[in-house]
Amino acid sequence: MALLIDSVSKRFGDVQALDAISLQIEPGEVFGFLGANGAGKTTAMRIVLDILRPDSGTITWNGKPNTDLPRETWGYLPEERGLYAKMTVLEQLVFFAKLHGVKPKAAERETRDWLERFRIPEYADRRAEQLSKGNQQKIQFIAAILHDPLVLLMDEPFTGLDPVNAALLKEAFQEMKERGKTLVFSTHQMETVEELCESIAILDRGRVVVGGSVREVRRSTGRQMVRVAVQGDPEIAWLGTLDGVRVTRRGQDYVEAEVAPGHDPGSVLRAALSRGCEIRHFEMADPSLEQIFIERVGQIDMSERTLAPKGAHA
């Protein structure tokens, strides 16, 4: 009972877009796909949706191969956003729902309900070209869920949304989760992942470099982070001299250090107290996903990494 991606490989010309990736996504969970541009996230989603066929490997949902599943199983929010510019919002949402076998009356009711939720009920009869980008994105989200899919696959759903709309979308995620849907989305925004996801996978050049529950992933290094601030000593020079402790960042508010596996982060606190320091801030934490991502993947490459030759994006 899960979405199983089993040893899926896909090659475009000279580029290995996916290299035998395997993932297990549990029903009802929110799953985050992390990776630089060109890591293979979109290709993986398109293969799950059966828009692309893998060179090898299988996809199953609750034991059934994806090629045998009705398209209504999936809801898809593509990375490249687009609507029919000349059609009204209501018209095209009903059109998309009809293609998935939803009755027009029911589709219209659902549409109006969701427009209400997204606080744009007055846009029902506007043409798509008259809407702002953020609002178009909300319309596309509605298009992805109107037919009540079991699994929602969303490619960079938060890109280009202002904070207010991002919050509305997060609420919608919560709503879908409460309805028992499985949500899979890709993003660059690590905070969003930490806030929303139960499990993640980090993809790099078509491979899963790390995967599992967010907690497991953050603990996977065995290292711990400490953040310390001491009155009158912004540098805390002695911190780096402690055994197994390495300063990673000297910020304005605190100094961040990493405690190697097998060492007790509490020793930092004790060392500070024994030096008679007046401690203003002390925090122990697992490494953030961002740190793990940078560690595993290197830089988060925001620039375009061309996957397939001659402009074929994946």
């Binding site: 398109r46 949706l49 692309l52 029919y84 402009g311 074929a312």
Partner: protein, 428 residues
């Protein structure tokens, strides 16, 4: 194949959307209205010509000062007002009416005054008095009419008449080898050629104009990226079929309206002529038999289907509407080739190459139609061509769906066909 089972209703929904969004555009509405008006107006041109001739009526007074003048009124009327027109109002004045007629001419109650006088014992001479230009049409026509009057007079003097002169002589045609050929006479052949050329042009125009619509609509969808939403909702086969049906129907609707305007215009020609000009004029539908019409409809629909599938496939290679023209240019060559083959084929309808080519699906819409309208086709030949055309459509549907499903995901300036074919091998 999974695609066939699930082709409908989604293909139908797509078709409906395409049809609506196409027919709602201002360019479609304006274009249809304008073309229909032009088509209707074109059919009324003969009426217009007759009308302009009938409104400018020339008033003609004739004074004869010849004592033995035969009655020429009927003859002159027939000469000046052919086909029942009323271009000339002819008033024969009584003997001694010259002063009155001259006064009327000066008062512009007449445009032309003709005085007939004897020219020796055997002939007539005419004086035309008018302010109309000497080399104008009215004067020239009157001169020609008077020439006939003179001939009639000379014949009467010689003891004969026009009727006697014009009586048809006995002529008999004797075949050399004893059996006369009774097939197509020249005029029938020429009108059949004209008709089939007209029908071929109709097919050609429809494919070129409305096929591009299909390609445009694919490129537009790809360009606006709505394609990706569509891909999860439908299969490429459903999209392709829907686009073809929707745009095809919109195109045929426009075509139908224009053709209706033409047919309506032709039918209305006679009543309008009667109302405006005041006389009858025959409308001509040359040689359009039900057989030819049926063949035209079948070949039109199948040919259009085949070509619009290919247009859709090629349209999927580009993501901007501006690139559609260049992407579809190979297809244009193929269409032109078929068109020219049929134009030349009409002159050599019984040649072997025409017969062979009329079975090739890309050319049969033109060439088989040409052969049918020339009346040189066995029923089985037509059936075979239609069957082959149908088979080609099925093959094209799958090939196009392949290219389409690969093409729609490839974005970039311009995708080469080789790239798409490579992608098509691995896509679903």
């Amino acid at each position: 194949m999974k695609g066939w089972r699930t082709l409908f209703p989604n293909a139908w929904y797509v078709a409906l959307r395409e049809y609506r969004s196409r027919t709602r555009t201002r360019s479609f509405v304006l274009g249809t209205v304008l073309l229909a008006l032009i088509a209707f107006a074109a059919t009324q041109l003969p009426v217009l010509v007759d009308f302009s001739m009938s409104t400018s009526q020339t008033r003609l007074a004739i004074v004869s000062q010849v004592s033995d003048m035969p009655d020429s009124s009927g003859l002159l009327d027939h000469q000046l007002n052919p086909e029942g027109r009323k271009s000339y109002l002819i008033a024969w004045q009584p003997d001694g009416g010259l002063p009155t007629a001259e006064a009327d001419l000066r008062a512009r109650r007449y445009d032309i005054l003709v005085v007939i006088e004897p020219d020796g014992p055997q002939d007539l001479k005419f004086t035309i008095r008018t302010d109309s230009p000497q080399d104008g049409r009215a004067v020239q026509t009157v001169e020609t009419g008077l020439y006939t009057v003179a001939i009639q007079y000379r014949l009467a003097k010689a003891g004969s008449s026009i009727a006697a002169i014009e009586k048809a002589p006995a002529v008999s045609v004797v075949p050399v080898n004893g059996s006369a050929s009774s097939t197509n006479n020249l005029t029938r052949e020429v009108s059949a050629d004209l008709l089939s050329t007209g029908l071929i042009v109709l097919i050609f125009m429809a494919i070129v104009t409305y096929g591009v619509w299909v390609a445009m609509s694919v490129a537009e969808e790809k360009g606006s990226r709505v394609m990706e939403l569509m891909l999860n909702a439908t299969t490429p086969l459903q999209m392709l079929t829907g686009k073809m049906l929707g745009n095809g129907a919109a195109g045929l609707a426009q075509y139908g309206i224009i053709l209706a305007a033409v047919v309506g215009g032709l039918l209305a020609q006679a009543p309008i002529h009667k109302a405006v000009v005041g006389s009858d004029a025959g409308t001509q539908f040359g040689g359009l038999s039900p057989t030819v019409l049926a063949a035209f409809v079948v070949l039109f629909v199948l040919g259009f289907t085949l070509y619009s599938l290919l247009y859709a496939a090629l349209g999927s290679l580009v993501s901007r509407q501006e690139d559609v023209q260049s992407a579809t240019s190979p297809l244009m060559v193929l269409i032109m080739l078929g068109y020219f083959m049929s134009v030349f084929g009409l002159q050599a309808i019984d040649e072997t190459w025409v017969k062979v080519a009329s079975f090739v699906p890309f050319f049969s819409p033109y060439l088989m139609l040409a052969r049918v309208s020339a009346g040189h086709v066995e029923p089985w030949e037509f059936g075979l061509a239609v069957l082959l055309l149908f088979a080609a459509i099925v093959v094209a549907l799958f090939v196009a769906a392949r290219i389409y499903s690969a093409g729609v995901l490839l974005y970039g300036q311009r995708v080469s066909l080789a790239q798409v074919l490579r992608a098509a091998r691995v896509s679903r």
